[in-house]
């Protein structure tokens, strides 16, 4: 029962940390749009936190550039367990048009494990909330 309560609390309060690993800023604008009063992410318990130490979900945008690779790993390792990573946007999922560029490693999953992908260029604000909710539902149903 105790386990169940902890799990429910985790589902009810995902705090998000936003990380840009070389995105064109299109996805970042959509993330800000998703957190604005019109969509009201706080009704699902989502809060945007500046510090990765406070966060449960790392929202990554953009392909991983050579410069950002080490920093992305560092930020990921600073987050306390249990942690989730959401790759937001086409570039974060696969590397998209930047695949094979001399300074690009590829998608986020080339560097750190990713739990959910939200495709789109950029995805709509609804898509990010949908992605987070799907991630949490999958977590809730898992053992």
């Amino acid at each position: 029962m105790f386990e169940k309560m902890v799990k429910l609390s985790r589902v009810k309060s995902p705090w998000v940390c936003h990380f840009n690993s070389g995105s064109c800023n299109g996805c970042d604008i959509e993330i800000i749009a998703a957190l604005m009063p019109r969509f009201d992410a706080e009704r699902f318990g989502v809060l945007l936190k500046g510090s990765p130490r406070h966060a449960d979900v790392l929202l990554c945008t953009g392909p991983v550039t050579g410069q950002m690779k080490e920093r992305l790993i560092k930020i990921y390792e600073q987050m306390p367990e249990p942690k989730f990573v959401v790759a937001f946007g086409e570039c974060a999922c696969t590397g998209a048009v930047y695949t094979g560029a001399y300074n690009v490693e590829g998608g986020i999953d080339k560097v750190i494990p990713v739990n959910a992908y939200v495709p789109g260029c950029p995805p709509k604000p609804e898509a990010i909330l949908d992605g987070v909710v799907k991630l949490l539902t999958a977590f809730k149903e898992s053992e």
Binding site: S13, P37, G50
Partner: protein, 327 residues
Amino acid sequence: MTPIESLIYMLVFPGFLFLTSYAFFCQYLDRKLYARFQKRVGPPFIQPIADFIKLLAKEDIVPKAADNRMFSAAPIVGLAAVLTAFIFIPVLALHSVIPSFEGDLIVVLYLLTIPTLAIFLAGWTSGNPFGQVGAMRAIVQMISYEIPFFLALLAPALIVGSWSLGRILDYQLGGMWLVIFAPLAVIIAIVTLQGKLERLPFDIPDAETEIVGGPLTEYSGRRLALFRAMLDVEMVVGAALIVTLFFGGYDLIISFSDLPWYLPVLLNAVIFFVKVLFIVGILALIKAVVARYRIDQMVSLSYRWLIPLSVAQIVFIVVLKFGGWLI
């Protein structure tokens, strides 16, 4: 009171257990009102408890650069100080003489200073540059809001002529609430309480758009949960102090003298906590309508306006008192 009664008073009602759950409710109310002011839906009812349990269950990290003992002690000391402060505030009308001693107002004010120092130490010893900048801002902010806050709460003590919360409350039970004599002091106390709680417009220490998480940047897991609980309880204690000093504590105009003895006690406690909720609502309203000050603006606001105004309030009260217009 017998030892058992005292233990129940401290640990169950209105102490630890009741106070923390009431503080969570106040956090919910604050966030919900804030959301409604912005035309949002707001968080569900269980949100504060869900946040708390989630943080308790998270991994606990102490950074290598941090001083381990200070890092762990800061949230516990801060939470203990605010929980202790609430014990001195009269809530239950159990006895004909309110249990209180001369100078407990000073004790409560002193205990309410400790959370800020805990936050300062937390930021300073966490070994993070953002934490250290936030800690310095917290201390600069403290020396500017503490003086008007103390001066504002001196006003009721001057009117009654006592440092005891019980006697100040007793004065209001018979006659008028002190807000009538010291309206300016109430406003100053509420504004500076916002600074004490590090909320808008004075959330300079943990300005998340400037310095990540302020003094709490390196905190995670259960220590962060304790810090958040500390801030909630501090909000309740600050609001309860203002209610006791200015709004007549558990007093209501109607008297319940012809009811059995336990009903008036219960009703008085309910009235007290409803009044605290009103103060929390005002704090949420302030948070919703203002933007953040810079640290120099905050210091100049409190030294140019709040301190002179609170001194003017005190002069006004002294004139009233020596003119013989106060009872």
